[in-house]
Amino acid sequence: MELFNEIIQTLLSGVSIGCIYGLVALGFVLIFKATEVINFAQGEMMVLGAFIALTLINVFGFSYWAALLLATVGLGIFGLILERLVLRSLIGEPVFAIVMLTIGLGYFVRSSVSMVPTWGTDTYGFTTPFTDKAARYGELVLSWEQLAIIFMTIALILILFAFFRYTRMGVAMRATSQNQLAAVYMGISVNRVFSLTWIISAAVGGFAGVLLSPITFVHMNMGFIGLKAFPAAVLGGFSSIPGAIVGGLIIGVTESLAGVYLPIGWKDVAAWIILIGVLIIRPQGLFGIQEKKKV
């Protein structure tokens, strides 16, 4: 029983951190599918989201839910500005140049955060409706902070799923990522699709940052978790929302199991070992599809 509870708790913490990896991976995938750019500043979207929520809650006395909503929307606006001011002028430049730019952007965001008064380089926390709460089933204790991450991730995925499936703009975004030229022939404005892609990815990043805050606390380097979301995205095939989430879950759970049952050090390489293993067997990733074209 003891062991069973331990395993369940380990899995729970793995799944909850996996959800975060999955959300960040999803941000990578959305932008990559639309523009073939990998946005290495995706982790910094989390940092910004977390700091915005922190300020709203601790300084302005907002509720957790209002702060979550505003941080998400705020990052969406940040994504829009970023696309309009910086990325749009780079359309047509080599992809690697834009990728380098996103790396620079990550640095820029981190150092800006460290210079904002009251933000700086310290570690902060805020209380949430789930702080210090747990669901108990006899001996089994499940932390609400972790359960909440899972439920909120599911909620966000359902919203995104419905958007991409049932709304005209959502279908148009999928269409554009499949065949940009055809989208142009349909009268779809590719610029608008790109804007919206950055808006959604940045907003998802901000949302993930707020979710992650109770686990890792708020710090200018919390975005480095994006480094582990990258193998999650590759694992999922870099092509679909479910792929990104499943990739994130696999990495999160493996890492958490390795942290408990393997010698120290394995935790940090577990993600990469899994990734290499999967890529040897399925180079296109778990959910990746080989490109096919009818003539």
């Binding site: 279908v171 999928r174 065949n179 030229l181 142009v184 022939y185 349909m186 009268g187 096919k292 009818k294």
Partner: protein, 255 residues
């Protein structure tokens, strides 16, 4: 004033001039065809009209308004929709979603629904395969999907780039019958680009012959079918009477 008036357009791929001063008119309600061999510049003309490429020189007027240099989505909004060469359907969208993308710019939901039924009536296979992925359709079905998708935009002017490409003869016939019906029933004006001169000339009323980026001949299709050069070089009819003048020696006169 014709619905579409193209005047002296020149279009480049980098330093390569693909269209060398083309002019053409398309009257409202008409079916007009451009014939030409591979590389003549047919697709380039259509791309220039739909705004995917901008002409370096010349003007394009549609419904008395300059459209050269406009962005493609504005041109679609004005009523020009192109069925691109090679179908260009959305592989990972369902057939229904593909069709609805044709109606992307439309706001009138109930009419859009009616038009979906019209398209299903033209191409029953698209109704039967409504939830199948576009990429899993056969080449012929994809061509129908591409045409159906364009009809969903209810354009005033439909640009068709080689709809017969890669299709079996009976399917070509079927698709061209539907194009004729769209012209009759939806009052859609059609500009058709083809290598299959026989079927294009029998469908269209006016024809232009394009060679190396220039229009070399313009006439009613009836006349073009009788033209010696068209017969020999586009319809593949051999003149038996001229003994001694070998095929490769014969020069086109375009008179």
């Amino acid at each position: 004033m014709p619905l579409l008036q193209v005047r002296n357009i020149e279009t480049y791929y980098g330093p390569i001039m693909a269209i060398k001063g083309v002019s053409l008119d398309v009257e409202e309600g008409d079916i007009v065809t451009i014939l030409g061999a591979n590389g003549a510049g047919k697709s380039t003309i259509l791309k220039t009209i739909s705004g995917v490429m901008d002409p370096e020189k010349g003007t394009i007027e549609f419904m008395d308004q300059r459209i050269d240099g406009m962005s493609p989505d504005k041109i679609v909004r004005m009523g020009i929709t192109q069925v691109p060469e090679g179908r260009e359907i959305f592989h990972d969208l369902t057939v229904k979603e593909n069709l609805m993308m044709g109606a992307y710019l439309r706001k009138d939901r109930s009419e859009t629904q009616e038009d979906l039924e019209i398209v299903h009536d033209y191409f029953p296979v698209l109704k039967a395969r409504s939830s199948q992925l576009g990429g899993n359709m056969s080449g012929g079905e994809q061509q129908m999907l591409a045409i159906g998708r364009a009809i969903m935009a209810t354009p005033k002017l439909l640009l068709l780039d080689e709809p017969s490409l890669g299709l079996a003869p009976f399917l070509v016939k079927e698709i061209f019958e539907i194009i004729k019906r769209v012209n009759d029933e939806q009052k859609t004006t059609i500009l058709l680009v083809e290598q299959n001169a026989l079927i294009a000339l029998s469908l269209a009323r006016i024809g232009y012959v394009l060679e190396l980026g220039r229009i070399v001949k313009e006439d009613t299709c009836k006349e073009l079918m009788e033209n010696e050069d068209v017969k020999e070089f586009y319809l593949g009819v051999k003149e038996e009477s001229i003994r001694g003048s070998k095929r490769w020696k014969r020069k086109k006169k375009w008179r």
